[in-house]
Assembly symmetry: C2
Homo-oligomer: 403 residues x 2
Amino acid sequence: MAKVNRNYLKLPGSYLFSTIGKKVNAFIADNPDKKVIRLGIGDVTQPLTPTITAALHRAVDEMGRAETFRGYAPDLGYDFLRNAISVNDYKARGCDIEPDEIFVSDGAKCDSGNIQELFALDNKIAVCDPVYPVYVDSNVMAGRGGEYDKVLEGFTDIVYMPCTEDNGFAPVIPDTVPDIIYLCFPNNPTGAVISKEELQKWVDYANDNGSVIIYDAAYEAYIRTEGVPHSIYECSGARTCAIELHSFSKNAGFTGVRLGYTVVPKDLVIDDVALHSLWARRHGTKYNGAPYIVQRAGEAVYSDEGKKEIKGLVDYYMRNASYILNGLKQAGYSVSGGVDAPYIWLKTPDNMTSWEFFDHLLTSANVVGTPGSGFGPHGEGYFRLTAFGSYENTVEAVDRIIG
Amino acid sequence: MAKVNRNYLKLPGSYLFSTIGKKVNAFIADNPDKKVIRLGIGDVTQPLTPTITAALHRAVDEMGRAETFRGYAPDLGYDFLRNAISVNDYKARGCDIEPDEIFVSDGAKCDSGNIQELFALDNKIAVCDPVYPVYVDSNVMAGRGGEYDKVLEGFTDIVYMPCTEDNGFAPVIPDTVPDIIYLCFPNNPTGAVISKEELQKWVDYANDNGSVIIYDAAYEAYIRTEGVPHSIYECSGARTCAIELHSFSKNAGFTGVRLGYTVVPKDLVIDDVALHSLWARRHGTKYNGAPYIVQRAGEAVYSDEGKKEIKGLVDYYMRNASYILNGLKQAGYSVSGGVDAPYIWLKTPDNMTSWEFFDHLLTSANVVGTPGSGFGPHGEGYFRLTAFGSYENTVEAVDRIIG
């Protein structure tokens, strides 16, 4: 008699963004005349840039001719892309990451969900609170969560590191030493960043305690402030304690194209085992590479023209971020983020809960945001807006909210 | 102190095809003048067809314009593709599978590796022997394998169902009742097929015992014999016991494009839990959909022109299969498969082991095949050749082997 993985049943409700999607669809069905503006899910809206589409067209043509057709990609990614990543995202910043330490994938969400497989089930996980739900949910599904505690609104075996106004939305090193520490900067959902000095403390802590840091750098392209690290490998000693996740979704607009990568340095050895070899084994066994045409699009991101276009995209969204941040601030909201990140984190007014404010915003302004409590108990009383809309919609949404 | 998942360390050696790749690369480095022909890994060689590339180009253009740009895909796949699959692969065959029971993914390899996550760790797994390595390896990595036994050349907790010349390469129902049964027809690696009557026995057995069948139908497009089922849902009762995996790799040549799907019927309830909801949760949490442009290519496979072109591709490869099968047979080899499948399974001559024959073929004929023992202990003494080469190379390879 087959038995299901009952850890799945411990997850309360459905995935946050599925719930939001259902609520919004119900509202639209009841109010077909209303123009709903979505600043909720972190999905981009601007089209792929000309250099990217040209690269895709060229690759499609190659796939249509016998002489240039490509079958299975190398498990870990094509060299042309791994080399471009190593040169541009690492060596240009003084980070010593070689192409063969870079694993190309179909996105940072998949990698951030799958990476926990490399670790034993009795590792203690620490996450920021609020947090991107995938880190927690994927560990709960594997059995590292313990039980869901309704009072705590969290899992008994997971260490939550509160990130609130009081600590400037920066996690504090917890009392219990965690085995695996998930960090995401610029942060989703709060939009907070970390200085190199503060990040160095986490790297030192991990090395001192034999912990591994899973560093999610999906939003690094949005960093504008000098001294804010783009990669954890800017910190000394990170090669022996940190894995880094990257996405092409938010810089190049690849949410529907699907491309990401994960760095596992060869010096990261735990329990006498190199995590690099385990992740290579996982890729070899359970993955078949990102599509050739998509990897060529990724390569184009690093061309001179591509870089200019990508900067244009990021600038476009950051203009939105400024408009939201300044508009809400002037209207008296308590807001943070939005300077080095495409997310604005605001305190709900009038002591509304996050979901109350969600409903209020949807019905009164027809604007969709994300309830902070969906990211963890310390997100209660907060709300996330994203800068990924069109400029026109963003302006209209802010004017409706503050109007 | 972080601890690794030591189940990974139980896997002997590296993934089969990685090992072959290394051996071949070493041979080529030592023999740069030799023309090596690869009939080893099941990778296609013929280009994407015109209807497919046209669909890809159109979708790329859509992604380059703001009005038609698409961000995140629906978690479970676009309706246009799920509908086309339901109509063409199921309803046209009298199988009652609805679009919302179809989960679009980036390939059957990923799905066949990930599907085991839905089940508790104490489920007993049964696989054919020889077998596509991913079923075993993914379960071992999760902890369902027990220990590797060097004498058995297998894992102590896995039930192996021998498929040999004696039983016509068809598995026999095992003495121990397995909880999860992996079946693949047309079979990789043996090229054997199963009749509807025989498959019905497995479905009845699974329903009687509360077992779940994971049915890998990646090669169904190669079936030519009347009465051989294309889908397990042709059998009555399969909706309550079977999950089916499908690939676009082998029919449409998408090995480098990456598209597949998995069917989880809503009637498949285990332990009072619908597996459909668990798989949806997995997709929602750890996956972000197949690329929009790739899903449009998948849709084009089901257009009238697309179907004609795909049939042409399959016919092309099956001409190769016939050439290999007949050539080797006439030369006195003992061969099977190759009639309803793109794989030819041959007995190694002169009592050579599978790897001895691999080395022999590589050095004497400069032809790459796959050692049967790489698929399991009962694959020892066998060897797999694939029909996925070009016709010219296939003819040359066979002539070299039998010459």
